[in-house]
Symmetry: C2
Subunit: 261 residues, 2 copies
């Protein structure tokens, strides 16, 4: 069961910001021969647009506060500008891409994050992946390209972390496919020494993760990223790698950091 | 052959601008029981955003000049803000909507309009509808929702008239379906007297169209709209109506202006 392979690739905001990197990664992605899904982060453009409109981006501890104005901005930038640019580029490379939010085909359902200490505004925490509709697309040899917007199925769009989308999506598809999840970012993997690009930790299991967290080697944004990845593994995802964009190259040996339970 | 009905509805910018109208029309659209496609215009938001960013919208004879900056804006507003808002609203009404540009699944291929007297910039004239991919979506009971953006299959997005998309799409699907095309706008149909909302001309054939054009009763934006509609009829579309949003109501008798060859 679940023998067919599905490759899910998430590319981070810093790759989006760097056009030559983006084109290279899309070129490699388009050559992946298994069914595949791309998820992309937002990049700096949303904050730049907010500033161009005379406002200040609202961030608390590195996380965006999404008021109604900001939701409109991220919907425009993520689902419009970035998503459609990626789709057009992939189509030019022969990859039959379909740009989506979680609202499209009700693929990713979430709820507005409840207000505790901080009111994050229109931010969605994922409840459910509707894998049946995604499977229909994959069976037709279409390549879904998701941006970081979901919905609550009551008409409300919600800003949602792209790493979370990647992990939930991978987990949600794992009863249908043997899923490889690749979280690609600007570094080659999880680094033992942040100043040494070549100090990639080849393998992290849940125990080592706890130790690396305690010692401060894994910190900040890397913590939820890896927690999400473990969530995916617990939900049946076969392989999870945190790696640089070079790892997508066909036949490439360097795979970044592999996570295992 | 081509016995299954397909309803293609285009809603204009003035409906988009009016939120209660938009919600009402989406409510009626979601109740259409045949396979269906929605195409939406842009509304005033793109020009408003251009102004908010300290620039002036560039128009010649009522048509937008789409430089690189403006293309980014319309991609954000049409494919992001408006398209995803419509998708989320339709999903809340139980309609399994999928928001798209012509780049998605390479559904609508166009070429950049050649420069003659006027350089319209990144504006696309449609070459081809890829009906096979749209048919796969319809067979899965998905409802495509197109905004007015296409691509040239070489990585370039292009701003494209929504009426043209509706007419070409209707024509392009007519070998597979018996297509009804409904071009909905803020008036009840083509008016004999622009000051009398109830002077709807019930039926226009190609000869009457030429006469109405000469007499000035049909002018400006209505001319290309109707020309596109005749193009659709010539390409096998079964019925074309130009009508108000009320005409979408289930069981409604008032159908606006019917076009016939």
């Amino acid at each position: 069961m679940a023998e067919q392979k599905l490759t899910i690739v998430k590319i981070g905001g810093n790759i989006i910001n760097n056009e030559p990197d983006l084109i290279r990664v899309l070129d490699d992605f388009s050559k992946i021969t298994t069914p595949k899904v791309l998820i992309h982060g937002g990049g700096k453009k949303a904050s730049a647009l907010i500033r161009q409109m005379g406002q200040q981006p609202k961030m608390i501890e590195g996380r965006r506060i999404t008021d109604a104005f900001t939701l409109d901005i991220v919907t425009m930038v993520y689902a419009g500008l970035i998503n459609k640019k990626i789709v057009a580029l992939l189509q030019s490379k022969g990859c039959n891409a379909l740009g989506m939010t979680g609202a499209d085909l009700n693929t990713i359902q979430s709820h507005k994050r409840p207000v505790k200490d901080i009111d994050y505004g229109f931010v969605g925490d994922i409840d459910k992946i509707h894998s049946d509709n995604i499977q229909i697309l994959l069976q037709a040899k279409f390549t879904p390209v998701f941006c970081a917007i979901t919905h609550d199925q009551s008409g409300q769009l919600l800003n949602t972390n792209a790493d979370s989308i990647a992990s939930y999506l991978a987990g949600g598809m794992s009863h249908l496919f043997s899923v490889d999840l690749r979280l690609c970012f600007e570094k080659k993997g999880v680094l033992e020494n942040p100043d040494d690009e070549n100090s990639v930790i080849p393998k992290i299991n849940y125990d080592t993760f706890q130790k690396l967290k305690k010692s401060g080697i894994i910190s900040e944004g890397m913590v939820p990223k890896i927690e999400g990845a473990f969530h995916a593994l617990k939900n049946g995802v076969k392989n999870v790698y945190i790696s640089g964009i070079e790892s997508l190259k066909p036949g490439k040996q360097q795979k970044g950091t592999r996570l295992c339970l």
